[in-house]
Structure formats: structure tokens, C-alpha cells
């Protein structure tokens, strides 16, 4: 038999068909992992995707959901709505996934949610935009937000500022929806308490220095600077602030004020910084399991990627909801999500334990790695906020703020 063009084409087509033939052998429950592997979300995206896969691996080795294995199809949003729309179409139309997990930026989630609504499947995301809670975006109540809204973070910052006795807060925000959402939330809540807002500076991403912006804020002599920032820019700003020698306190979201920040700047610079976290349930059993999985997959501590903890929880809540619903229909699964995630019920932190409890007919309450994970009527998590003080390079949780 000679190697003809027709033969080569046929063989190539056959190779392409192999996965479909293999997959046809056992019915699975298909989910899409749609994460920001490249673009602005790239520091988090790979970890998010790996944790969906790791959680699903654990779920499958515990016998799968309702008798089926979960199968993950991974895609990259490129942190761009246009690429995300095409990726979501592909996941829905070609891979026939029944839920999409882990869209990160608000732009991407807002562009994808009309498609998941149309296909009548769930979308679990980590975006901050308020528009995602309500119609038209969440018209079918199929959207779930695993991240506290930026506005809620801002309100928590204001509570902390009051409790710590600050009088003249200034704000600095990274110029994107998340950064400005944090500081706007703070300024609104602070003003609502009858206080005067201080200087507000919005800075552009990817600058080698933020000295000009920093000096503008420091010249107004604030006693605390509230940040809506990310790790790279926070590192630069704090280094430049320390060089000025001006005494001031900082309130920073925990995704920016994390152990990597301490590692980069040393304990002297970071001493006294207040880091605020949506109680990324450190100490909870789910977090321990997640942390171990994250270290295995990414060779970094789990606390360095709050969004990966959320995607870990997404896979687990979805699996528990399917188990609870005893069905693969979206409507039944959707109805079961709050039932397995919200109190009252037996607190469980892993799929296997939850599955056993459900089988025994008990009502469960999944306590996640990212937060206690209770959803309100809009599908938003309503976490408590942990307030950490960085002291000698250690993160010490002093108290918890409820809003």
C-alpha cells in the first residue's frame, strides 16, 4: 500500500475522531473550565484550571457524581470577552458541557453569561461586577459568584477603619473594575458613616514607579491608605513608600497583601499592614485539602491564589449539588446548590464526606476553602472578612468583620 494523499487525510481524520470514540464508551457529566490562562488574569488562571481538575480527580476517585464520572474540558479566555465568547460557544456546542466554571474578570463573565443562560447551563465565576447579580445578566438565576463583590470588600474596609480609629483615610486604586470597586465601596461606606473622604488616586497598570501618585496621596497627610490593588503594583508602591519614611498605615486586600508580598519586601516594610480576606478559610479542613492539592500542582502555597480556592469550591459544590439532586438536569442541580452549600446542616469540607452524608439522608452545609460559601438569593457569596495584621512577616488574624 503506497502512501497517498487520500490515505494520509483519512488517517488524520481518524486520529481526530479517536477522543470522541473513546469518550463515547462511558457517559460522563461534562463541565467546562474556562479560565484566564493568558492576559491580565494569567497569574491566577493556570492555578484555577488545575484546581478544577484536581477537585474533579478527587470527586471521580470517590466514585463520581450520581453514578457518573465528571469530565473537564479546559479553555483559555485570554482575559478577553471576544476570545471567551468563542471559547464558551465551543465548550457548549462542541464539547456539550453542562456547566462552565471559573470565568475571572467581569468583562468575560458578562459576555459569557448570556450564552450559558441560552444553553440553560450553570455559570460559576469569580467576578466582582454588581451587574452579574441581577437581570438581564442573571435573569435565569443560573449564575453563581464565588468572590465577594468589590463593593462588599470596600464596606468591610470601612468597618475596619472605624474600628481601628482612623480619621483621615486616603484611597489608591488600580485602574480596573476590581480596584476601583474596592475603593468606591470604601468611600461610599465611609461617607455613609458621616466621615470625610480623603485624597483618591487612580493609577494606571504596568508602571515601573508609582512615586508621583504616592507623593500626591502622602502630601495630604492621611493616617491610613486604603488600597484597591494587585500584587505587582502593591509591591512597588510599598517599596517606594518605605523609602520616603512617612508614617502611615495600610489596609490592603489579601490577594495583594499575601506571603509573596512579605517575601518580596521583607518583614520591616510590611510590618503593621492590615490585610483583609474573605476568610479564605485558612484552618478549615477544605482549605487544608485545597492547599495540599495546590502545592502538588503549582509548587506554591494555596494562599497565594484566592481564585484557585474558589474554583476548587466550584467543582465541589457542583458535584455535591448533583449528588443531592440525584439528577443531571440543570434545574434540579440549580435547586440543590443552596441546599448543599448553605446552613443549616452538617458541616462538610470534602466531596466524599458530603456524598456519604447525603446518602445517609442528612442535610449538609459545604464549608469551602475560599469562604464558608453561603449564597444569597442573587447567587452571591456573603462571606465574613478576616482582618490580618502582618507582624514580623507573620499573618495574625485579629478579628472577623461581618457586614
Amino acid at each position: 500500500m503506497s502512501l497517498t494523499r487520500r490515505l494520509v487525510l483519512g488517517a488524520a481524520a481518524g486520529t481526530l475522531a479517536v477522543p470522541y470514540v473513546v469518550r463515547a464508551q462511558a457517559e460522563t457529566f461534562r463541565i467546562g473550565a474556562l479560565n484566564p490562562i493568558t492576559g491580565a488574569g494569567s497569574p491566577y488562571g493556570t492555578g484555577m484550571q488545575r484546581m478544577i481538575q484536581a477537585a474533579v480527580e478527587a470527586i471521580n476517585s470517590a466514585g463520581g457524581v450520581n453514578g457518573r464520572r465528571i469530565e473537564v474540558f479546559a479553555e483559555d479566555t485570554q482575559t478577553s470577552p471576544q476570545a471567551a465568547v468563542l471559547a464558551a460557544k465551543k465548550l457548549i456546542e462542541v464539547n456539550r458541557v453542562r456547566a462552565i466554571l471559573g470565568t475571572w474578570s467581569s468583562g468575560v463573565s458578562l459576555a459569557v453569561i448570556p450564552l450559558t443562560n441560552e444553553a440553560d447551563i450553570l455559570l460559576m465565576h469569580t467576578s466582582g461586577a454588581p451587574a452579574l447579580s441581577t437581570p438581564p445578566a442573571n435573569a435565569k438565576n443560573l449564575g453563581y459568584r464565588y468572590q465577594a463583590t468589590n463593593d462588599r470588600f470596600g464596606r468591610a474596609f470601612a468597618e475596619i477603619a472605624v474600628r481601628e480609629g482612623f480619621r483621615r483615610p486616603a484611597t489608591m486604586a488600580f485602574n480596573n473594575a476590581s480596584g476601583i470597586g474596592n475603593t468606591d465601596g470604601f468611600r461610599r461606606a465611609w461617607a455613609a458613616k458621616g466621615n470625610q473622604n480623603g485624597e483618591h488616586v487612580v493609577y494606571e497598570p504596568n508602571q515601573p514607579s508609582y512615586r508621583a501618585e504616592l507623593l500626591r496621596v502622602l502630601s495630604t497627610r492621611p493616617d491610613v491608605i486604603v488600597m484597591g490593588s494587585f500584587l505587582p503594583d502593591t509591591t512597588i508602591i510599598l517599596r517606594e513608600w518605605f523609602q520616603t519614611g512617612t508614617p502611615v498605615k495600610w489596609i490592603i486586600p489579601a490577594w495583594a497583601a499575601n506571603p509573596q508580598l512579605v517575601q518580596a519586601l521583607g518583614p520591616a516594610v510590611t510590618n503593621g499592614i492590615i490585610a483583609v480576606d474573605s476568610v479564605s478559610n485558612e484552618g478549615a479542613e477544605a482549605f487544608t485539602a485545597y492547599d495540599a492539592a495546590y502545592r502538588r500542582a503549582m509548587n506554591q502555597p494555596g494562599a497565594s491564589n484566592v481564585y484557585a480556592a474558589m474554583t476548587w469550591d466550584m467543582a465541589n459544590t457542583l458535584a455535591l449539588a448533583i449528588e443531592q439532586a440525584k439528577s443531571f438536569e440543570t434545574a434540579a442541580i440549580n435547586a440543590a446548590i443552596r441546599r448543599v452549600a448553605n446552613p443549616p446542616g452538617e458541616a462538610v469540607s470534602a466531596f466524599a464526606a458530603g456524598k456519604a452524608a447525603i446518602a445517609a439522608g442528612r442535610k449538609i452545609n459545604y464549608e469551602g476553602a475560599s469562604s464558608v460559601l453561603d449564597f444569597d438569593e442573587f447567587g452571591d457569596v456573603t462571606p465574613d472578612f478576616g482582618v490580618f495584621f502582618i507582624e514580623n512577616g507573620q499573618f495574625n488574624r485579629r478579628y472577623v468583620v461581618k457586614i
Partner: protein
């Protein structure tokens, strides 16, 4: 599967429109426009904002084209004094300026929060396949009309003048023609096409934010034009479709061998593949796939 292919086709057609505009500006007239994304953004935001005030989509599309064309006016005036690289720098700056203006003017554009809930084209047909097919039909119609108009232009006296501007502006001046007027017209026309592409984009994606309008979009359009063939209308179409094949085709590699390629590697591979294609085209087919072989 159909809806996915229709989605690719719609985004592909948006790139075809963008590439046609650039073909007119660079391919035919020799204006090195590195700020194409700026006109795209102006069109997208113009149509989105106006349509959300209740203006019918037909009018908002026309407004998008008009506003983008008007924005090209000052760039055209600059183009009279600058050639080639200098003009490229100015247009690159223009594209970024537009993005920063959109970021800053919160009262109009909602800044970095973006504009959600932009009405869809053919919303009456729903979000599903019928609506998407109608959108595809409409944008295909616009593409065909634009391609025919461009073809008509290349065979008209106007077309001969702009090609002469590209080939030898001094000689053209010596013949008594005024290149300035032609350059402004060409820029405005190309910008109008980009504006319409932007309007289609806004009403298809239904969410706009400034970070969608980064210079990468401009360079995707340049890639499409170079692969397809500079200065040819058919080249613009072929190039844009080839670009979509590169960007979307790589998704399926991971379904076939999910463990062999990680997400990050895949993204790098995608850019690598496009880059390699560009190098190979430059080496072996400098005129592009369907380029102009009449001149050497």
C-alpha cells in the same frame, strides 16, 4: 456545533471588515496605520451608547461609521506632514489615546467598569441560532458591499491616484494632483469601515470595556492583511479567515491531546504558530496567499 461555527464566522467577518479598511489605507494608499483599533473602539462605543438611549440599530450603526470617519479627520491632517514610520507612531499613539479617553470619561463610557447589556442585533429572534444567523447574514452583506466598493475604487481614477500616492507621492504632485485630499478621504473611509465593524462587535459581544481595545487588535488585523495579501481585496478576506483558523483551530489540539499541552503552552504555541506563519509568508510568499503578482 453550528452555533460555534456561526460565532467564529461572525467574529471572522468583523475582522474581514477591519482588514478591508486597512487594505484601503495601507494596501492601496500606503498609509501605515497602527491605530486601527482606535476607530474600531470609537465605532463600538458610539453605537453602544447611542443604541442604549433607544436609537434604532440602523441609525446607531450609521452614527458609528460617521463618528469613526470624523475621528480620522485630524489624523488625516497629520498624515499630510508625516510619512511611513512617523505616521505609524502617531497612529499608534492615537489608538492608545482613544483607549485612555474611554477609560477616563466615566460619565460617558462607565470607565473601566464597562458597558453591560448592549442590545443585540436581531434581538427579536432571541440569543440562539436564528438571531446569530441573521447577524451573520447582515455582516456578510456589509462585507460583500464593502469588498465590491473597494474593488470598484481600485479600478476607478480615484484608485489610480491613491495607488500613485503609495508608489510615488512626489511624482503625483508633479502631475498636479493634491495628495492631501485623497489621504483624508481614504483614512475616513477606512475608519468608517472599522467603525461599522466596531458596531457589529458591540452588539454581538454585548459588553464593552476599554481593555478590549488594546493594540493587539490592530496587529491581528495587520497579520490578517499580510497573510492574505497586501493591496488585494480578496487578500483581506482570505487573510482574516486564515487568522481565525489559527486562533480558533488551536483550541481543538487540546481536546485531542489534553495532557500533552498545558493551557499556557497552548497560548504560547498559538502565538508561535502565527509568528511562524508570518515569517514563512515573508520568506516564501511575500505577496501573501492571494497577493498581487502583477508587480515585483
Amino acid at each position: 456545533m453550528e452555533a460555534y461555527i456561526v460565532a467564529i464566522a461572525i467574529v471572522g467577518a468583523i475582522y474581514v471588515l477591519l482588514t478591508l479598511g486597512l487594505t484601503l489605507q495601507y494596501g492601496l494608499t500606503g498609509l501605515v496605520n497602527f491605530g486601527h483599533v482606535g476607530f474600531f473602539a470609537i465605532g463600538a462605543y458610539a453605537s453602544a451608547i447611542v443604541s442604549m438611549q433607544g436609537v434604532p440599530l440602523v441609525a446607531s450603526f450609521a452614527f458609528a461609521a460617521l463618528l469613526a470617519a470624523l475621528a480620522a479627520w485630524p489624523i488625516g491632517l497629520v498624515a499630510l506632514r508625516l510619512r511611513d514610520d512617523y505616521f505609524a507612531v502617531v497612529t499608534l499613539g492615537f489608538g492608545e489615546t482613544v483607549r485612555l479617553a474611554i477609560t477616563s470619561e466615566k460619565w460617558l463610557t462607565n470607565g473601566v467598569q464597562g458597558i453591560p447589556g448592549i442590545p443585540r442585533t436581531f434581538a427579536g429572534l432571541g440569543v440562539g441560532l436564528p438571531g446569530a444567523l441573521a447577524t451573520l447574514a447582515a455582516i456578510t452583506l456589509v462585507c460583500v458591499a464593502a469588498a465590491l466598493a473597494l474593488r470598484r475604487i481600485t479600478r476607478s481614477p480615484f484608485g489610480r491616484v491613491i495607488e500613485a500616492i503609495r508608489d510615488n507621492e512626489e511624482a503625483l504632485k508633479a502631475l498636479g494632483k493634491d495628495p492631501a485630499r485623497f489621504k483624508i478621504q481614504v483614512l475616513a473611509l477606512g475608519a468608517a469601515l472599522a467603525g461599522i465593524a466596531g458596531a457589529f462587535y458591540a452588539h454581538y459581544i454585548t459588553y464593552l470595556s476599554p481593555d478590549q481595545f488594546i493594540p493587539l487588535v490592530t496587529f491581528y488585523v495587520w497579520m490578517a492583511m499580510i497573510m492574505g495579501g497586501v493591496g488585494r481585496v480578496s487578500g483581506a478576506v482570505v487573510g482574516a479567515l486564515l487568522l481565525m483558523l489559527f486562533l480558533e483551530g488551536t483550541r481543538f489540539l487540546r481536546d485531542i491531546a489534553p495532557d500533552a499541552i498545558s493551557g499556557v503552552a497552548m497560548a504560547s504555541l498559538r502565538f508561535g504558530a502565527v509568528g511562524l506563519a508570518l515569517i514563512l509568508f515573508t520568506l516564501f510568499r511575500p505577496q501573501g496567499l492571494v497577493g498581487d503578482y502583477t508587480r515585483r
